[in-house]
C-alpha cells in the first residue's frame, strides 16, 4: 500500500487562488459555474482525467488551472485522506462529489503502543455522517487507526445501498453488534476485512446475520475478532458464498472445523487457518491425513496465515500447498527451527514470510536456503523483553541477506546485532525499500565491537538507493543521523527511538531528507532548537511525532506561531490548566498540517497551541 501523500491540503488553498482564463474568478468551489464557451473542452477533459488513477498525478492535474481543478474534482472516485484531521468532511464532500471509495487514516502509528490517551480522537462519525449525505453511491470504505462505533457501522449499512467493501485496519470502538448490521443489510457486500482491530464481544452472532440466500462475499477476514463464532452458521455461510476467495478465521476455529470449511471452499486463494489446533490440544491419529487432502484440494491457495495455537504435529498437513505459496504468515506460530524446516523447504515461491523468532537463526538459515524469491520478511519476538539472550541475532540476518537477494522489506526484532552484518545486508540487498531493525535492548551497541550502530544504518541509507522507510534502533550517535540526512534522499517514513546525542541529530534529518513525511521519535534528546530547524519542511509532512524528548511548551508555541496551518498538539504529564507549566517539558508533541485549524473533539489532556 503506497504511503503517498498527495500534498494537496496546503496547495489546495493555493489552487483556489489560481484563476483560469475564461471562467469567472470565483475562489469558492461551491458556486455553480455558469455555462461557458469551453464547456466542450471541459467534458473532454473529464473523460481524459478518468484514466488518471495515481493520487499524485491527480493532485498535479488539479493545480493546472481552474477548469482542470474542477474536472479533476468531478472525476475523482477514489479518495485518500492520510490524516483525518488535515481536512474536514465538509470540505472534502464539497470538493469531491462523485466518490465511490474512501480511505481514511487516523491516529499516528505510535498509538498502537499505548503512547496516546484512549479518547484522543480520529472519530469516524463526522465522516460517515457527511458521506451518508454526499456519497449515496459509495462502495468502499478503508479505515486505518480510526475510532469507529457501532452506530457508524449502522449508518454505513443504512446509507449506502451499493456498499461493497469494508476494510478496518487497527480500528477500535465497535463490536459484534455493528458487524451484524453490516452483514445483514449490505446486500452487495463483497469484502468484510477486519485486520488487527479491536472488536468488542457484544454477544451477537454476527455470522448468522448474513443474508440467508446467496452472498457476494469474496473476502471475509476476521482473525482479530476475539470472540466465539457460531460455527454452523459460518459453515452455511461459506457454502452459500461461491465467490469466496479470502477467508481468515479467528483462533476459536479448530482444525477440525477448518477442515469442514476447506472442503466446502476449495477455491480459496487466501486462508487464515484459525487455531490450527484441535479442540483439546491432543491429536487423534488418523485425522492428519484428512487435513492434508483438504489442503491439497485447494489448488489456488497462495496465501496462508493463522496458526494461532499451532500444534506442530499438524504442520505436515500444509505440505501440499507449500510449493504454490507466495505468502506465509507464521507470526503466531511458536515453532522451532526443526519444526519449520520441513515446511519451508518446499516454499520455493515464497515472497512474503512472517515468523516468530522461535525459529531461531537456524530457521532463518533454512529460509535463506530455499526462499530465493523472498521480498518481505518479518521476524517478531515471542518474548518481547529487553534483557534476555534472544533466539535470533545477526547470524540469521546475515543468512537472509546472502540467500534472499531480492529482499525489499524487512522488519527484524532481535536482541543483538553487528554493524558488519547490517552493512553486508545493505550491499547484498540493494532493492531494499523498507528497513526496520529493532534491537530490543535500548542503546545496545554492536555486540562484537562495542561501537554504536551508526555505520550499519549509514550503509543502509547509502547503499539502498530505493529506501523509503527506515526504523533505527540500538546505540546511535548524531553521526547516524548525519548519514541519514546525507544519503536518505528518498526516505518518507522514519522511526527513531532512544537514539542520538543532541539537537544535531534531528537537524540532520529535517534538513537532509526532502521527502520526509512521517517522522516519529521517542525518548531522544532533541529539543526546541532542533524543532525549529524544520520549519521549512513541516508543511510538506503528514505529521511529526515526538514523545519523551526535550521539547518545551515555549518551543512548540513558537512553531505554532510561525506556521499557522500547522496544528500543534501537545500532551503533558501535568494538569493542562496549570499556570506554571509554561516552560515545562512536554511529554508528547504531535503536529500535522491542516486546512481546518484546531479540531473540536480534543480530549482534555491534549492541548492545541
Amino acid at each position: 500500500m503506497s504511503e503517498d501523500d498527495d500534498r494537496s491540503p496546503p496547495s489546495d488553498a493555493a489552487a483556489t487562488g489560481i484563476t483560469a482564463s475564461g471562467s469567472g474568478g470565483s475562489t469558492s468551489v461551491e458556486l455553480f459555474p455558469a455555462p461557458y464557451p469551453d464547456q466542450v473542452l471541459e467534458n473532454v477533459l473529464e473523460n481524459v482525467l478518468c484514466f488518471l488513477t495515481s493520487r499524485r498525478d491527480r493532485s498535479a492535474a488539479s493545480l493546472v488551472c481552474k477548469s482542470w481543478y474542477r474536472a479533476e474534482a468531478l472525476t475523482r472516485s477514489e479518495l485518500f485522506i492520510g490524516n483525518c484531521y488535515a481536512v474536514s468532511p465538509r470540505r472534502t464532500t464539497a470538493r469531491f462529489t462523485r466518490v465511490r471509495s474512501v480511505s481514511i487514516k487516523g491516529k499516528p502509528r505510535f498509538a498502537d503502543f499505548n503512547l496516546m490517551p484512549h479518547n484522543w480522537g480520529a472519530h469516524f462519525a463526522p465522516w460517515v455522517v457527511a458521506m451518508a449525505k454526499a456519497y449515496p453511491w459509495l462502495e468502499k470504505i478503508y479505515l486505518k487507526r480510526m475510532s469507529v462505533t457501532d452506530e457508524d457501522l449502522v449508518l454505513i449499512a443504512e446509507s449506502f445501498p451499493n456498499f461493497k467493501e469494508l476494510v478496518l485496519v487497527c480500528c477500535d470502538g465497535f463490536g459484534t453488534t455493528g458487524l451484524a448490521v453490516v452483514a445483514n443489510k449490505c446486500r452487495q457486500l463483497r469484502v468484510l476485512d477486519l485486520i488487527e482491530s479491536e472488536v468488542m464481544d457484544e454477544d451477537v452472532d454476527w455470522i448468522a446475520c448474513f443474508p440467508g440466500s446467496h452472498t457476494c462475499l469474496e473476502s471475509l477476514i476476521f482473525d482479530c475478532v476475539d470472540c466465539l463464532v457460531n460455527f454452523e452458521a459460518l459453515e452455511r455461510l461459506v457454502v452459500r458464498s461461491p465467490s469466496l476467495k479470502k477467508l481468515r478465521l479467528n483462533r476459536y476455529v479448530s482444525i477440525g472445523q477448518l477442515y469442514r470449511l476447506m472442503i466446502r471452499a476449495p477455491q480459496l486463494t487466501h486462508l487464515g487457518t484459525g487455531s490450527f489446533s484441535t479442540s483439546d490440544g491432543m491429536i487423534q491419529g488418523e485425522q492428519e491425513a484428512d487435513y492434508a487432502s483438504a489442503f491439497a484440494a485447494c489448488k489456488s491457495l497462495t496465501c496462508l496465515s493463522g496458526f494461532r495455537e499451532t500444534l506442530p504435529e499438524l504442520l505436515p498437513a500444509i505440505y501440499p500447498v507449500c510449493a504454490n505459496l507466495t505468502s506465509l504468515n507464521f507470526s503466531y506460530a511458536n515453532i522451532n527451527a526443526e519444526q519449520l524446516k520441513p515446511v519451508i523447504c518446499h516454499c520455493h515461491k515464497l515472497q512474503t514470510f512472517w515468523a516468530l523468532d522461535s525459529i531461531c537463526d537456524e530457521g532463518l538459515q533454512a529460509v535463506a536456503a530455499t526462499c530465493k524469491e523472498l521480498r518481505e520478511l518479518r521476524v517478531f519476538p515471542v518474548d518481547a523483553r529487553e534483557d534476555i539472550e534472544g533466539p535470533v541475532s545477526e547470524v540469521g540476518l546475515q543468512a537472509i541477506s546472502e540467500g534472499c537477494r531480492k529482499l525489499q522489506s524487512i522488519l527484524y526484532f532481535c536482541q543483538r546485532m553487528t554493524n558488519a552484518v547490517v552493512i553486508a545486508m545493505s550491499k547484498n540487498c540493494p532493492d531494499l525499500v523498507v528497513f526496520r531493525l529493532c534491537i530490543m535492548g535500548r542503546h545496545r551497541p554492536d555486540h562484537l565491537t562495542g561501537q554504536p550502530m551508526d555505520e550499519g544504518f549509514g550503509a543502509i541509507v547509502m547503499n539502498c538507493k530505493k529506501l523509503t522507510r527506515l526504523a533505527v534502533s540500538g546505540l546511535l550517535t548524531d553521526r547516524a543521523f548525519s548519514y541519514i540526512g546525507q544519503y536518505g534522499k528518498l526516505v518518507r517514513t522514519l522511526s527513531v527511538a532512544f537514539a542520538g546525542d543532541s539537537d544535531n541529530g534531528l537537524k540532520y534529518m529535517l534538513e537532509g531528507c526532502p521527502k520526509l513525511q512521517k517522522l516519529e521519535i521517542r525518548d531522544s534528546p532533541f529539543g526546541d532548537v532542533a524543532l525549529h530547524s524544520g520549519l521549512h519542511h513541516y508543511y510538506n509532512m503528514r505529521f511529526l511525532w515526538m514523545s519523551s524528548c526535550k521539547l518545551t511548551h515555549q518551543g512548540c508555541r513558537e512553531v505554532a506561531r510561525a506556521l499557522p496551518r500547522l496544528v500543534v498538539e501537545v500532551m503533558t504529564r501535568n494538569e493542562v490548566d496549570e499556570e506554571d507549566i509554561v516552560d515545562d517539558e512536554i511529554e508528547i508533541l504531535y503536529m500535522y498540517r491542516s486546512l481546518e485549524g484546531p479540531r473540536d473533539d480534543v480530549p482534555k489532556i491534549v492541548q492545541i497551541l
Binding site: 477500535d172 479491536e198 491432543m282 534476555i388 539472550e389 494538569e575
Partner: protein, 326 residues
C-alpha cells in the same frame, strides 16, 4: 506541580504511588543488566498469579460504581503487589487488550484507578488514570540522558514496539498440553513455568448481570477455587443489580448473598461453559486440566433455566441435569 496539589486533597494516593511506581518497576525489573536473580522474580510469580485473580476484571463497558467492588477487593499492601502483576503481565500499565478504548478497560487494571474509584471523584478519575498512564514514560525520561551508555533500565511503555495482540504468545500455545512440551525444547533458557505463567483469561457472564467479567483460569487449580472466585466476582454485582432494579429507593446496601452451589446444581445458579467447539457443558465433569484447555468462556446461569438449554455433560448426562433441576 500546583495543579496536582488540588488532586492531592481528593486523591492523595496518586502522588504516593508515583515513587512506588518507579520502585516497583526497578524491583520487578528482571530485565536490568545487573545481577538480578532470576529466582527472585520467579518466586514472586505466585503472588502475581493470585493478584491476577483479583484483577480479573471485566471487559469494556463497566461503569464506575461497579469498580467499588474491585476497589474493595484490592486492599492495603496488596496494591503494591498488584502493581507487580501488572508489570509482569504486560510491562505496561495497560491491559492485555493494549489499546486505549473508549470504555474504561485500561483503568480497571490500574490499581490507582481502582483505589480512586472508592472515592467520590469518579468523573475525574478517568483523567487521573490517563495522566497516570503517562507517568511510567516520564520515569524513563530521567534515566534517558544519562543512560546512553548503560544498558536498559526499567521497562518502558510501548517498548519494544509490539502491538498488544502479538504479546503473550507463549501463553496461548501453552494452554494446550501438547505444545507445552515442545515449548521447553524451544526456549531452553526460559523457565517453562514462566511462559505458562501468563494468564488464561476467559469471559464470564452471569444471568441478570449485563456486564461480563473475565477470570484468569491459570490462577486456580480446582473447580472449588473457581467457584469461590465466581462467587466473589459476581456477588457484589448481583446485589447491585437487584438494587438498581428495585428502583434505587430501597436501602443502598443490599445485603449480598453468597453465590453457592455453582457446581452441583444445588444453588440458585449453575456454572456452565462453552468449549472451543461451541458446545455448552456443565462445569465440573472433566478433569480440571482438560477443562482449562478447552474452555472458551464461562456462564453463570439460573439453575431453573438449565433444562431449557441443550447441555452436553460428560458421563453423567441425565443425572447431572436432574440434580441441577432441584
Amino acid at each position: 506541580m500546583g495543579g496536582s496539589t488540588r488532586r492531592e486533597e481528593i486523591c492523595p494516593q496518586l502522588l504516593d504511588l508515583i515513587p512506588k511506581n518507579r520502585e516497583w518497576l526497578m524491583r520487578r525489573d528482571n530485565n536490568s543488566s545487573t545481577s538480578k536473580d532470576e529466582r527472585s522474580s520467579h518466586g514472586s510469580s505466585s503472588d502475581e498469579k493470585k493478584l491476577e485473580l483479583r484483577l480479573g476484571l471485566g471487559p469494556p463497558g463497566e461503569n464506575w460504581p461497579l469498580k467499588n467492588d474491585s476497589g474493595r477487593e484490592i486492599g492495603g499492601d496488596e496494591d503494591q503487589k498488584s502493581l507487580l502483576s501488572l508489570g509482569y503481565r504486560n510491562q505496561t500499565p495497560w491491559p492485555s487488550s493494549g489499546k486505549f478504548q473508549g470504555k474504561t478497560t485500561s483503568f480497571l487494571h490500574l490499581p490507582v484507578a481502582a483505589k480512586e474509584a472508592s472515592q467520590p471523584c469518579c468523573p475525574q478519575v478517568q483523567k487521573n488514570a490517563e495522566k497516570k498512564a503517562f507517568s511510567p514514560a516520564t520515569n524513563t525520561a530521567v534515566p534517558n540522558s544519562s543512560s546512553q551508555k548503560r544498558t536498559a533500565p526499567a521497562p518502558v511503555v510501548g517498548w519494544p514496539p509490539i502491538r498488544s495482540f502479538r504479546k503473550n504468545l507463549a501463553s496461548s500455545s501453552s494452554s494446550k498440553p501438547a505444545t507445552t512440551e515442545s515449548q521447553n525444547d524451544k526456549i531452553p533458557r526460559d523457565k517453562p513455568v514462566e511462559t505458562s505463567g501468563k494468564g488464561l483469561f476467559v469471559k464470564i457472564n452471569m444471568d441478570g448481570v449485563p456486564i461480563g467479567r473475565k477470570v484468569d483460569l491459570k490462577a486456580y487449580d480446582s473447580y472449588q477455587k473457581l467457584s469461590s472466585a465466581v462467587d466473589e466476582l459476581f456477588r457484589g454485582l448481583l446485589a447491585a443489580q437487584r438494587d438498581s432494579s428495585a428502583g434505587g429507593i430501597q436501602i443502598k446496601q443490599e445485603e449480598e448473598k453468597a453465590i453457592t452451589g455453582l457446581l452441583d446444581g444445588s444453588g440458585e445458579y449453575t456454572l456452565v461453559y462453552e468449549d472451543n467447539e461451541g458446545d455448552r457443558m456443565l462445569v465440573g465433569d472433566v478433569p480440571w486440566q482438560m477443562f482449562v484447555s478447552t474452555v472458551k468462556r464461562l456462564r453463570v446461569l439460573k439453575s431453573s433455566e438449565l433444562s431449557a438449554l441443550s447441555l452436553v455433560s460428560g458421563k453423567q448426562d441425565r443425572m447431572a441435569l436432574d440434580s441441577s433441576l432441584k
